[in-house]
């Protein structure tokens, strides 16, 4: 068993022992060859479970399948239900209502799927999704998800670190940013037949953000392949940023010298920036970001700086005026 521990996590950030022991018991139940890792201050906030191949986690667990709902005890925060995660979505390609994506994405075909890796890198290429994923070991990680609209969830994603892909693509010295592009397919994406946003949806990260250990390329949730409404078959997750950075149904990843012009920034630069880091001290021009409604809870809770991942990401923004670089 390997416990990986990124250098930037101080020992104080590691899980307290009771939780740790519990997790051991849990992991022992779930599978052999599984690694757990605490990734946040004040107890265990993110769980990493390395899980072998594309198969479901059930196959790892043998007769005792992993119950994702049970991850509550390890996280200290309740994992949202599969229903909550898959019926309350922002995915404007399928409509602007929260239930539109789950209701309108039934016709979307996430296979076959091609992903292009382009731009300033030594190993560009265009891959069938299966080939694109083949070199990577998928793992389950439980992350908070904080939407810019002031609601949040806790989601057990399945994916692999974007850093691994970046390493494989081998960016050249000119590469300063990574740009992601969503597929354009208006025949299966009714929202793309309207002008509510500019299509295709574009997102981007600075190269150091892309290679941060927290950043994931995600293919599944709750141990299953991503449903269409959650961004099948491939999406981005950056848990310390507002949810709109988590671009869905990705077909192109491009290494750029210039900062990509992400869709919401283009739509309304006064309200949405490139960085979109979760920050309770910098309000959206129209609403407070100080608190959030966790889906399934009644009272709002305080929003945490960088969504609770400050120890892993704050160093990347040292010296930056976060009120200006929204």
């Amino acid at each position: 068993m390997i416990i990986r521990r990124p250098d930037d996590i101080p020992s104080s950030a590691i899980t307290p022992e009771p939780t740790y022991v519990n997790r051991r018991a849990f992991i022992g139940r779930a599978a052999a060859g599984v690694a757990g890792l605490a990734l946040a201050p004040s107890g265990l906030k993110a769980l990493e479970r390395s899980g072998g191949s594309l198969g479901s986690l059930g196959s790892l667990g043998g007769p005792q399948q992993v119950k994702y709902e049970d991850l509550e005890s390890e996280l200290g925060e309740k994992v949202n239900s599969y229903k909550e995660i898959t019926t309350y979505n922002n995915f404007y390609e399928f409509g602007t209502g929260k239930s539109d994506p789950s209701e309108n994405s039934g016709d979307f075909q996430p296979r076959p799927w091609t992903v292009a890796v382009e731009g300033h890198c030594n190993n560009p290429g265009s891959y069938q999704l299966e080939d694109f994923l083949a070199p990577h070991r998928l793992e389950d990680r439980v992350y908070r998800m904080r939407c810019v609209e002031a609601w949040s969830m806790v989601v057990p994603w399945r994916g692999f670190p974007l850093a691994d892909l970046v390493k494989r693509a081998d960016p050249t010295g000119d590469a300063k940013f990574v740009e992601f592009t969503t597929i354009i397919r208006p025949s299966q994406m009714p929202g793309q037949r309207t002008g509510v946003l500019q299509w295709p949806y574009i997102e981007g990260l600075r190269l150091d953000e892309a290679t941060n250990p927290l950043t994931l390329l995600v293919t599944g949730v709750y141990g299953k392949d991503l449903p269409n409404q959650n961004g099948a078959p491939l999406r981005l997750i950056t848990p310390w940023k507002y949810g709109f950075k988590g671009i869905k149904s990705i077909v192109r990843i491009r290494f750029l010298e210039e900062m990509p012009k992400n869709t919401w920034w283009v739509t309304n630069p006064r309200e949405y920036g490139f960085y979109a880091n979760v920050n309770p001290q910098v309000d959206h021009p129209r609403w407070s970001q100080a608190r959030e409604r966790r889906i399934g809870e009644f009272r709002r809770r305080e929003t945490l700086m960088f969504n609770g991942y400050a120890e892993q990401v704050a160093h990347m923004y040292a010296g930056m005026d976060l009120a200006r670089w929204i």
Binding site: Y92, T96, T194, V196, R286, I295
Partner: protein
């Protein structure tokens, strides 16, 4: 068919139609069809119903002039009062369920968030109109009653702005409702202009 029966029929339709969203919300609350963020759903449905009912209320007078059928005016008060009922519900859901009756936060939101400032103002402006909607107040206020109730124009305009300001990017529906408001006010402006011109002509 006599007028009384037609008006009665229309009132039945009005009550059923106006109570339908409330029934939907109550049933949805117990039968769990409000989705995974029920507070947000209740806020949206009550807010949308308020705005639609205000616009229907504002359509009564133009409809009366257009058709020449005066009894339709009897629908105006119940429509306006239902609009106020939903505005009150919308406000209550926001203050009690969404903000958990945290008055400091309520005050902060009203002061600092322009879309809440205008929404709150729109609601407050409706209160005196609901209070003075009775026969007694109409009699007591006479001409001033008409002037006071012109506040509904301001309140509805603020309601349209409130809705337009709160959406993230899809402004189609807010614009449609604002367009209906502008059209309804345009009818009134045209009539006012016409009367002025006629008055000037007579005076000249």
């Amino acid at each position: 068919m006599d007028t009384k029966r037609v008006v009665l029929g229309l009132k039945v339709v009005l009550w059923l139609g106006a109570l339908a969203p409330f029934a939907w919300m109550v049933a949805g609350f117990f039968l769990d069809w409000l989705g995974v963020n029920p507070i947000e759903k209740l806020t949206h449905v009550s807010g949308m119903t308020t705005l639609v009912l205000l616009l229907v209320t504002l359509a009564v007078t133009p409809a009366r002039r257009l058709t020449g059928w005066n009894p339709v005016i009897q629908l105006r008060r119940p429509l306006g009062l239902f609009a106020f009922f939903y505005a009150f519900l919308h406000f209550s859901v926001w203050m009690v369920l969404d903000l958990g009756f945290d008055l400091q936060w309520v005050a902060e939101d009203i002061a600092e968030r322009p879309y809440i400032t205008v929404g709150f103002t729109a609601f407050v402006l409706l209160i005196p109109l609901a209070v003075t909607s009775t026969r007694g107040w109409i009699r007591r206020l006479r001409k001033r009653w008409t002037r006071l109730h012109a506040l509904v124009y301001v309140s509805t305009a603020l309601g349209c702005i409130h809705y337009y300001w709160l959406v993230k990017s899809d402004v189609r529906l807010p614009l449609l409702l604002a367009g209906i408001y502008v059209a309804l006010m345009g009818v009134r402006a045209a009539r006012w202009l016409e009367r002025r011109i006629r008055a000037t002509a007579t005076a000249g």
